[in-house]
Amino acid sequence: MRISTSTSGLLLFAMILLASGVSRPQTASRQPPSSQLQAVAQEISTGRLDQAEKELQTILHSTPGEYRALDLLGVIRVLQRQETKAEELFTQVVQKKPDFAPGHAHLGLLNMQMGRTQEAIRELQEAVRLDPTRKDAVGALVNILQGQAQSASESGDWNNALGLLREARKYAPDNPDIQYEFGLTALRLSLLEDSIEAFQQVLQLRKHDALALYNLGRAFMELSKFDEARQQFAEYVRVRPDDPAGYCALGMTLAALERTHEAREQFERSIALAPTQSESYYRLGLLDLESKDYEAASQNLRHALASSPKNAGVLTALGKVEFEQKHYPEAALLLQQAMADDESLREAHYYLGLTFARLGRKQESTEQLEIASRLEHEEAQHRRTLLRIAEPAAVGSQMLPAAK
């Protein structure tokens, strides 16, 4: 988790000082004039801590328990690296004046500096609740949440990361970095609508953010919104014309839109920029396979295989090339190699099932086709979840009363 260092903590406190509540006194009897407190704050900010403390002790002598004076004294203790004493003072402040936002903010920041994250979050949230305009508290809160989200992501706890980033977004809707991280995490969790919305926010805040464009394209692809995806990737290659991945992605959307000639052009551009890659060769091979140009398909797929010798997708496609040419033993071999790399590849099971059927190996054929069928069913369920077609079990509370 990323927590501010003590140096940055001190700096933060210096900033807090300028933004502290001393300029906004809350009227009450026997209170010192705010000008007096402002003068103290000024002294603190210029490093004259002894003088500031002397004046604060004077105030506290005449007005014992004056919360703003206690708060400023706490700040002095922080700057003197006497965190325990500072904490006692800030705690007194929020006990005496629970609706004093600076007190909560300072206590939160101190907790943050001391690595007590949960306590920090609680106090900072209270500060923001009392005064939503407190940039110090908001900034610190977002910083903590972002750090926690990063830790959660690193440990693979995407759901937790997403929850933290969702919270961070509430506090900092105009922070493009938070929006981007939220979008990326949502994309990893296949929460595509959320992901799309976040990347679109990033692009409103940073118009040509290349990574946001690329990932927005990915999210649209996942949702089978190919034309929307195409638009993002087209913009991406305009922003980053030297990135072969962009042309490949653009080619994939065009292929999905059955604009095969244009798709082919993009794959070829990608290859021109990165001749040793496998993806664009693979995609070209698939286009050749669909158009039944088996020689070209084989050539492109072999090219892809040279860079990724065990790639299940490429091996499957090569298996299909052999299958369609009725070279069944060769097809079986390639498809089995594909499954050795990725057992969950439905298409490999399907074509191996067909291949075994052609070879008269009925039992094995049935087994493979059954696996393919099961995987297909699972994929279909997944797709429907993505499309958010709600099913009764999932929306039980939304079911209308049964017909009478």
């Binding site: 089978s224 095969t260 669909e290 158009s291 039944k292 399907y350 099932g353 067909l354 297909e376 429907r384």
Partner: protein, 578 residues
């Protein structure tokens, strides 16, 4: 050079020679590469007196039958040589409707309709007189002369109950459902007449969609206002097809289990053909959101489902799709029936080319259908040669199943125009819809489609039904000088309709094949007569017929541009197998 030509000035002759050369060049080019000949279909519905509106009875609950439509049949019920039209209709659905309800028609608004074609080509509504007003929520329609009495009978499938109407031959029909034993059960969709055991009597296959009832299930996005949608079929259990064996004497026995055809399915479309040319008719069932079924007829009264292993069960990537309409006919003139199945947008209409060894190749992309169908959802579909060039084209009627689709997918449309795809000599289909008349620019929630030469002018016409909307009668007015022949086969030993007869027509341009059937498309029944476009050929070298009885008949040197009735002979023309 003729004497008359010699009278022309020399320069005129030269210009004329050049023109002739150019014309020949264009024709040669067309013959080699095909031409994107657009069609020309006109909407003659009102002009010819058809006034029909299918009542889907939409409710706020989005009960699934509301979006599935009713079918249409084109058949000559009174043997006057002109095609008549039968239109299925819905029934009222209460909002909400209690479970186990079977909707019933409550008045003329919901009646099925029979339109009789008069000698002047216009139609008159003879429903009531014919006794065809109907019973419940009608879905599919199938025409076949099940008792071989020379008059076409009618099976009307429905939700909860189907009805068999016997044609008495005097313009009226009798409901013989109960005595025949073909009422069926569940949600029946497309039906087909087929003589699966070649005993000379037509049997009946009825597809069923799934185990569905009037439950109040919410589907859609509850967070979005007004966004309740029709439920995905995955929520419901599949249901097997029904196979009624014709025992003779007006009796049928349901034998789906005995015949091994009772696999759980979600059948919407049915088509028949002998895909392996073994002399026994096979059955294709288009299933929604699961694999497609191809039932291979073993010839012993049983079937084996071979969809997956034949390669016709899934798309080229091994994915299932939402099969709806289907046709099973030889589009590349190689003599082996191919398969087209319509489905939803983003799935691409599935074209399976017969590889002549019992397997099929998924040819959607290679034949140009992927790009054409990517954003379309198809229902009724038929191969038909609209321009008589000798190659079967495709007519597809379209609409998404979800009337809310535009909310979730703004690039799709609920209502869509139909598509006309020209067959480029079996190599590719080209979309010629844009230039084929106003009807291909209309936005319809189309469902059923039946084809036939309604005005007997040698060009195949069509009738289209829509969900909760009108029906359209589309007359083919495509300008062409191509020749044609329509064959009306009459079985003697075989079933009288000759359903299942395989016909090969040979001209100087090559050969073509078709199988007699009334089924195919979606919930609809087409003219049983076989139509062949002949291109420039002005005579037919040979017509070869393999009758379901096994009799082979050959006719030679036939004239063209006519309807030719051929009666099954007592024995084969020569020794030849199928």
């Amino acid at each position: 050079m003729t004497k008359r030509d010699s009278l022309l000035p020399k320069n005129v002759r030269a210009i004329r020679a050049l023109l002739i050369f150019n014309i020949l060049a264009i024709q040669c080019s067309g013959a080699l590469y095909g031409q994107n000949t657009p069609g020309h279909f006109i909407d003659a519905t009102q002009k010819l007196g058809i006034q029909f509106r299918q009542q889907a009875s939409p409710t706020s609950r989005k009960y699934l039958p509301e979006t599935m439509g009713s079918g249409v049949a084109l058949f000559d019920y009174d043997n006057d040589g002109r095609l008549d039209i039968f239109l299925g209709n819905g029934a009222p659905i209460d909002d909400p409707t209690p479970k186990r309800t079977i909707p019933k028609k409550t008045g003329p608004k919901y009646w099925n309709r029979l339109y009789h074609q008069k000698s002047d080509g216009t139609f008159e509504d003879v429903t009531e007189r014919a006794g065809l007003t109907g019973f419940g929520y009608s879905t599919g329609v199938a025409v076949g002369d099940y008792d071989n009495d020379g008059f076409e009978d009618l099976y009307v499938a429905g939700y909860g109950r189907g009805t068999l109407y016997h044609n008495k031959g005097d313009g009226t029909f009798t409901d013989v459902t109960d005595s025949a034993g073909v009422a069926g059960s569940g949600w029946m969709t497309s039906a087909a007449w087929i003589d699966y055991d070649n005993d000379g009597r037509l049997d009946l296959i009825v597809a069923r969609y799934m185990q569905w009832d009037f439950d109040d299930i919410f589907c859609g996005n509850p967070e979005k206002k007004d966004f309740r949608s029709y439920c995905h079929p995955d929520l419901f259990k599949p249901e097997s097809v029904l196979l009624f064996h014709n025992d003779g004497g007006g009796k049928f026995t349901e034998v789906a289990h005995r015949a091994g055809i009772d696999k759980p399915s979600k059948g919407l479309g049915v088509a028949i053909a002998d895909y392996d040319r073994d002399g026994w008719m096979d059955i294709l069932v288009a299933n929604d959101a699961m694999q497609q079924y191809l039932f291979h007829n073993r010839g012993d009264g049983t079937f084996e489902e071979v969809g997956l292993i034949s390669g016709a069960g899934l798309d080229g990537g091994g994915n299932s799709f939402s099969g709806m309409g289907v046709d099973f006919s030889d589009y590349n003139n190689d003599g082996w029936p191919d398969i087209i199945i319509t489905d939803l947008a983003h799935q691409r209409f599935a074209l399976f080319t017969n590889l002549k060894d019992g397997t099929f190749d998924y040819s959607t992309s290679a034949r140009g259908l992927a790009a054409i169908s990517l954003l379309h959802s198809g229902w009724g579909v038929r191969f038909l040669d609209y321009d008589n060039d000798g190659w079967k084209d495709l007519l597809i009627v379209q609409s998404h199943v979800m009337d809310t689709i535009e909310i979730t997918e703004p690039n799709l449309r609920y209502r869509e125009p139909p598509s006309l795809l020209h067959n480029e000599r079996g190599k590719k289909f080209e979309n010629v819809s844009e230039a084929s008349g106003d009807v291909f620019h209309q936005q319809w929630a189309a469902r059923g489609l039946a084809i036939g030469d309604i005005d007997n002018d040698g060009r195949v016409d069509a009738v289209v039904t829509s969900n909760d909307g009108p029906a359209w009668l589309l007359l083919n007015r495509t300008e062409t000088s191509n020749h044609w022949i329509t064959l009306n086969l009459v079985g003697v030993k075989s079933n009288r309709d000759a359903i299942g007869a395989l016909v090969r027509v040979v001209t100087s341009a090559g050969e073509q094949f078709s199988t007699v059937t009334t089924t195919g498309s979606y919930q609809s029944s087409s003219d049983k007569r076989l139509h062949f476009g002949l291109g420039a050929a002005d005579s037919i070298g040979e017509i070869e017929i393999h009758w379901p009885s096994g009799i082979r008949q050959v006719l030679t040197n036939q004239k063209v541009d006519m309807v030719l009735t051929i009666t099954e002979p007592a024995e084969s023309s020569s020794k030849a197998g199928r």
